[in-house]
């Protein structure tokens, strides 16, 4: 006798429910526990919500919640092969790119890598102070023998952030020019941004082999692409209407308007988006070590798995240093853009 028997009795579905009832089906733990206490009087305080499981108690034909999860799983597995046929070749270049960059970064000796990074920092920020700071941080990382892991993390971030910008900026531009596209895209972006990072990994693990770099590449890109899209869209929409009108009045084509007016004026916002994107790639690359992404995250994971407190904390500090470096350099570049076009 279950709480919601009356629904099915009332609807005259009792016969349908009991038809083919064997009672030999697999029992869940909850079923077993429920069996023990079945003699109790039902009171209003223990009234269960009419959930799938509660209704199943009343009518065996009603699906249980585990049928739902099973259904989702079966559905995904059924689609998997088809998705793979499409997605595998499409995303293969990502694997090559990640592999290639990782190999390149690892093969480059530190005494070449350091000057190259210093040059990049200098050109982005035009600040010798920042170059000195970055060099000090990198030297510290190398000194505590985290150099190899740090460069792996950097390589992955370079590739993923680059691809985020490559795809994110055009998507943002398209959104800014089409209200309907914007309305359609924003819920997707909201979802990507609110999904817990671990959830990205679940379907990807089934789709791709765990040994392939594109698995974590896709997870990072999906997670980190959101801010650059949002801020590109916002930046272009915020461009001074008067300037746009002036551009129109001089007979600019849409193309001239986009490249000579809108993108340059939206650049501070786009740069802020790139900064966010890089920081989010860093956050995700640590989590992605769960699915074989190399880098500092692997050490953090080792610290958790083997309870190696020191390893975990030192590599955690390494991640913080990397984050500071990336943030300072992109912010310095952003400030330079801002200084050039304040109103």
């Amino acid at each position: 006798m279950a709480t919601y028997d009356f629904i099915f009795n009332g609807l005259g579905l009792r016969d349908w429910c009991d038809a083919g009832k064997t009672g030999d089906g697999p029992l869940s733990m909850a079923d077993l526990l429920a069996k023990g206490g079945s003699g109790e009087d039902p009171s209003i305080w223990s009234l269960p919500f009419p959930s799938l499981d509660a209704l199943n108690d009343a009518c065996a034909k009603f699906p249980q919640s585990r049928d739902l999860t099973k259904g989702v799983e079966d559905g995904f597995l059924a689609m998997k092969d088809m998705l793979r046929v499409v997605l595998d070749p499409l995303t293969q270049p990502l694997s090559w790119l990640l592999d290639g960059t990782l190999t390149l970064f690892e093969a480059t000796p530190w005494w070449i890598m350091f000057p190259i990074l210093m040059l990049i920092v200098y050109f982005a920020s035009k600040s010798l102070k920042l170059v000195a700071f970055v060099t000090a941080c990198l030297s510290f990382l190398a000194f505590v023998d985290l150099y190899q892991h740090a460069t792996q993390t950097l390589a992955i971030i370079f590739v993923c952030a680059f691809l985020c910008v490559l795809f994110g900026v055009p998507i943002g531009i398209a959104m800014s020019r089409n209200d309907r596209l914007q309305r359609a895209t924003i819920p997707v972006l909201d979802m990507l941004q609110t999904l817990p990072p671990f959830v990205y990994l679940i379907p990807l693990i089934f789709l791709f082999s765990v040994t392939e770099p594109k698995l974590y590449g896709i997870a990072i890109i999906l997670y980190a692409i959101v801010p650059v899209i949002r801020l590109t869209d916002l930046g272009i929409r915020l461009v001074d209407k008067d300037v746009i009108e002036a551009a129109d009045s001089f007979g600019m084509t849409d193309r001239q308007k986009l490249f000579d007016v809108q993108i340059p004026l939206a650049l501070p916002n786009i740069m802020a988006g790139i900064n966010q994107t890089i920081m989010m790639s860093l956050a995700m690359v640590v989590i992605a070590s769960l699915v074989s992404a190399p880098g500092l995250g692997v050490l953090v994971l080792r610290g958790i798995r083997n309870l190696e407190l020191g390893v975990g904390l030192v590599s955690g500090l390494g991640i913080v240093l990397l984050a500071i470096i990336l943030d300072r350099v992109t912010k310095a570049a952003l400030d330079r853009v801002n200084a050039a076009q304040k109103h």
């Binding site: 008067d242 009045s249 001089f250 109103h343």
Partner: protein, 353 residues
């Protein structure tokens, strides 16, 4: 100055709202602006505008905010599309233009100066001034030469490598004017170009514009809400109110013959002695002999103020008015003093246009 009509606006209507064509029917059948908004939720922007702008003249369109003057100027280069009517430039109806023709019109024939300057903050002053040529595909090397020439002309020599944010408002608007001049277009549209500047700078800029105009003879359409500015610049003055033309004509004529209480209110506040000119109030000779009992000669374009200064306030004096050295009329100080008193719109001053 020729008498050729450069821009001609015919029966122009603009209605803002969801279904302007349907609302136009109501307007044509006599619904007022307030009723159109109250009953049909449409805003009447412009109503039956007919203006001819002559080549080489400064046509000033004046009105308070909300009178539709900025809407009107944006119809000339079709930044705003009209609901009905025609805009002819050099005899061609620009409303029939396709995208390509319209772009050419905006690039080659009209250039615009904006109230808020609308310079590109990421480009240098010289690059900004050259934007109008850059848009046409002129090489940077070439357009910078042209831009520098016009920057010099508007008094910004040596500022070419600065960025707009390093300049004051007045200087930024000089860049805006240089940008419009660089395009070498025969028509200049100036949308409240000097309204954002402080009064002294504004006077400077007005003088600059008049000085440039004596040389360049462009067809200028100038929007303002300031009557003093309008009277100073205008060859032809159009006064807008609530989207329709209240009165248009030669500024001196409007000042002496306001045909509407609205305009009377406007003109009653200004310094008439400084604005009115001798030619507007003199008695023409009409073949009569030149009187001999006068206190001297006076140019026909002088202001009454300068004449008062010359006569030392003596109201019994009278003068011979000359144009290019030939006597054309007489003026006695009594009629001058009378002209200084604003008169109310008289019954006989019916609309001239």
């Amino acid at each position: 100055m020729t008498d050729k009509i450069k821009i001609s606006i015919r029966n122009l209507y603009k209605i803002f709202g969801a279904r302007p064509e349907a609302a136009l029917e109501h307007v044509l059948s006599g619904t007022s602006k307030a009723d159109l908004l109250g009953q049909h939720q449409h805003v009447l922007g412009l109503k039956d505008i007919n203006v001819d702008m002559r080549e080489g003249e400064i046509t000033v369109i004046m009105g308070l905010s909300g009178s539709g003057k900025s809407t009107l100027i944006r119809h000339l280069n079709r930044l705003i599309e009209p609901t009905s009517g025609e805009v002819e430039v050099d005899g061609e109806n620009v409303l029939t233009y396709g995208e390509e023709q319209l772009r050419n019109l905006r690039r080659e024939v009209m250039s615009m100066v904006f109230q808020k300057f609308a310079l590109l903050p990421h480009r240098t002053v010289a690059e900004n001034a050259g934007t109008t040529l850059d848009v046409r595909g002129v090489a940077k090397r070439d357009y910078l030469i042209e831009a520098d020439k016009w920057l010099d002309r508007v008094g910004l020599h040596g500022f070419g490598d600065h960025y707009p944010h390093q300049l004051s408002g007045g200087m930024q608007q000089r860049v805006g004017i240089a940008r419009a001049l660089t395009s070498n277009s025969p028509i200049m549209l100036m949308d409240e170009a000097f309204s954002a500047l402080d009064p002294l700078i504004r006077t400077d800029m007005q003088d600059l514009l008049l000085e440039l105009q004596t040389e360049l003879h462009k067809t200028i359409v100038f929007i303002t809400h300031d009557l003093d500015e309008a009277l100073k610049l205008a060859d032809h003055l159009v006064i807008l109110k609530d989207g329709y033309v209240v009165q248009q004509g030669e500024p001196q004529h409007i000042l002496l013959n306001p045909n509407d209480p609205y305009i009377e209110d406007f003109v009653s506040d200004i310094n008439r002695a400084r604005v009115l000119r001798v030619r507007s109030i003199m008695t023409p000779l009409n073949g009569n002999p030149v009187p001999t009992n006068t206190q001297g000669e006076v140019g026909h374009d002088e202001t009454l103020e300068s004449l008062i200064a010359r006569s030392g306030g003596e109201i019994t004096h009278s003068f011979v008015v000359t144009q290019d050295g030939t006597p054309v009329g007489t003026l006695d100080m009594t009629s001058l003093v009378k002209a200084l008193v604003p008169r109310t719109a008289s019954e006989d001053s019916a609309r001239q246009y």
